[in-house]
């Protein structure tokens, strides 16, 4: 009994050490930390799978919230994405960047969802109304501009490129991989998106100095 308790303590200590090591390592190189977690997940480590879910879900969820209409849909898509990622987790190869792999699958799920939604005429009308909603640029919590409203006037392909580049901080190469396109095409989409954003924001008389204080 005593021996079992000592083993548990030891395992807990090892777990704590490993967690500390992982979080310390993540400060040094977040991408390779994600890759390490993914490799452990592929080896069947439940703790690594849970850590990945906790770390990557907020950004995946935001990706869906910006792209689709409702938060409920984004919840469904997030769940569906993780189930699909789980099914095809063997397609991730060690040493490759994780985010392009993840977003390529998330995009696939979203496109599937979009096709289903397109069949419903009501949803189509709602998407057309989105730019009008965006004109108001409502503030999110804490007075920061709402990302979804900010990006809503952009076409879907430009919106996802801007989100991956500027919000998730992915490189051009990573976005090109995630969207199965060339770096040139990503640059072009980002350029066009900036043109549209500039037009809209200038029309509304907004500048960086006022961004934080948007109504």
């Amino acid at each position: 009994m005593k021996c079992e308790a000592r083993q548990n303590d030891c395992a807990r200590a090892c777990g704590d050490w490993r967690n500390n090591w992982v979080s310390g390592f993540s400060l040094m190189n977040p991408d390779s930390d994600l890759q390490t977690l993914m490799a452990r997940y592929q080896r069947g480590d439940f703790a690594a799978a849970t850590a990945l879910i906790r770390r990557l879900s907020p950004q995946l969820h935001r990706f869906f919230v910006v792209q689709v209409a409702s938060r409920g849909d984004a919840d469904d898509l997030l769940q569906e994405t993780w189930l699909r990622l789980h099914e095809v987790r063997h397609t991730y190869r060690a040493g490759e960047p994780l985010l392009p792999w993840l977003y390529a699958i998330a995009r696939h799920i979203r496109v599937d969802h979009y096709r289903k939604a397109r069949r419903a005429a009501a949803r189509e009308e709602r998407l057309e109304e989105m730019p009008e909603v965006a004109a108001a640029l409502p503030a999110g919590s804490g007075g920061t501009p709402d990302l979804k409203a900010l990006l809503a006037p952009l076409p879907e392909s430009q919106r996802e490129v801007i989100e991956m580049l500027k919000v998730e901080g992915m490189s051009l190469e990573e976005v090109a991989r995630a969207t199965s396109s060339s770096i040139g095409s990503v640059k072009q989409k980002a350029h066009r998106a900036y043109e549209k954003l500039r037009e809209r924001l200038t029309g509304m008389g907004l500048g960086a100095g006022r961004a934080g204080g948007l109504p």
């Binding site: 439940f46 699958i105 900010l150 199965s180 960086a208």
Partner: protein
Amino acid sequence: MRDREIDEILKKAAQAPHDVDPALLDEVARSIGSSLRPVRPLPPAWVLAGGMVMICAAVALAGAARLGLNGIQGLSVLERALIFPALGILLWLAATASVSEMVPGSRRRVAPGLLLAAGSLALVAIFAVLFHDYRSERFVSQGLACLTAGLLHAIPAACASWLLLRRGFAVNAVAAGMMAGTLAGLAGVTMLELHCANFETLHVMLWHTAVMPLSGAAGALLAWAASFRGRLGRSRAPRS
């Protein structure tokens, strides 16, 4: 307004906290945990691409050996030195593109449609430069025989390639199908170059080359039909 100012606005918008319902994350973790077991990652891309090239070469060689290696015997050294390396390069490009389409997040060097079009044009150009017999005897009947033989050899190449890549996951099924079809079509063209002794310019340019785009189109169509059926099945399945 400058780009930097737009960057600043986007940065501020991105800094807003975005939380996900912890119950949802627990549910995801639970459903994943119930079927969690170690998996074997896919081999490196060059291994898969190499395997696919070998399969296509084997199918082409076996087919030509069965039907007779009349084509390669009738070709001059220059013709052999131009046609087969070009086919080898196209096979390698199509194989790497095919692997990229089956591994999410892979680097895409060339778009599948572009590769198919450019590959077909390159073959047409090579045949136009090398063959100068402008007769066209029994153009349609001989042509259809070659086209059928090429496409029939593309089928086993496609099946064997699919076996090799069956563990992959295509995020764009149509593009993946098109690339697999193109690769299989190239196996058919290679078989025809090894076997067919009809060196009439128009025959080679049209009927031999046509195997590749037709096979690519068939691959894209089949993949589209399969993914459409899959989507239909998923939308009809009751959600848990």
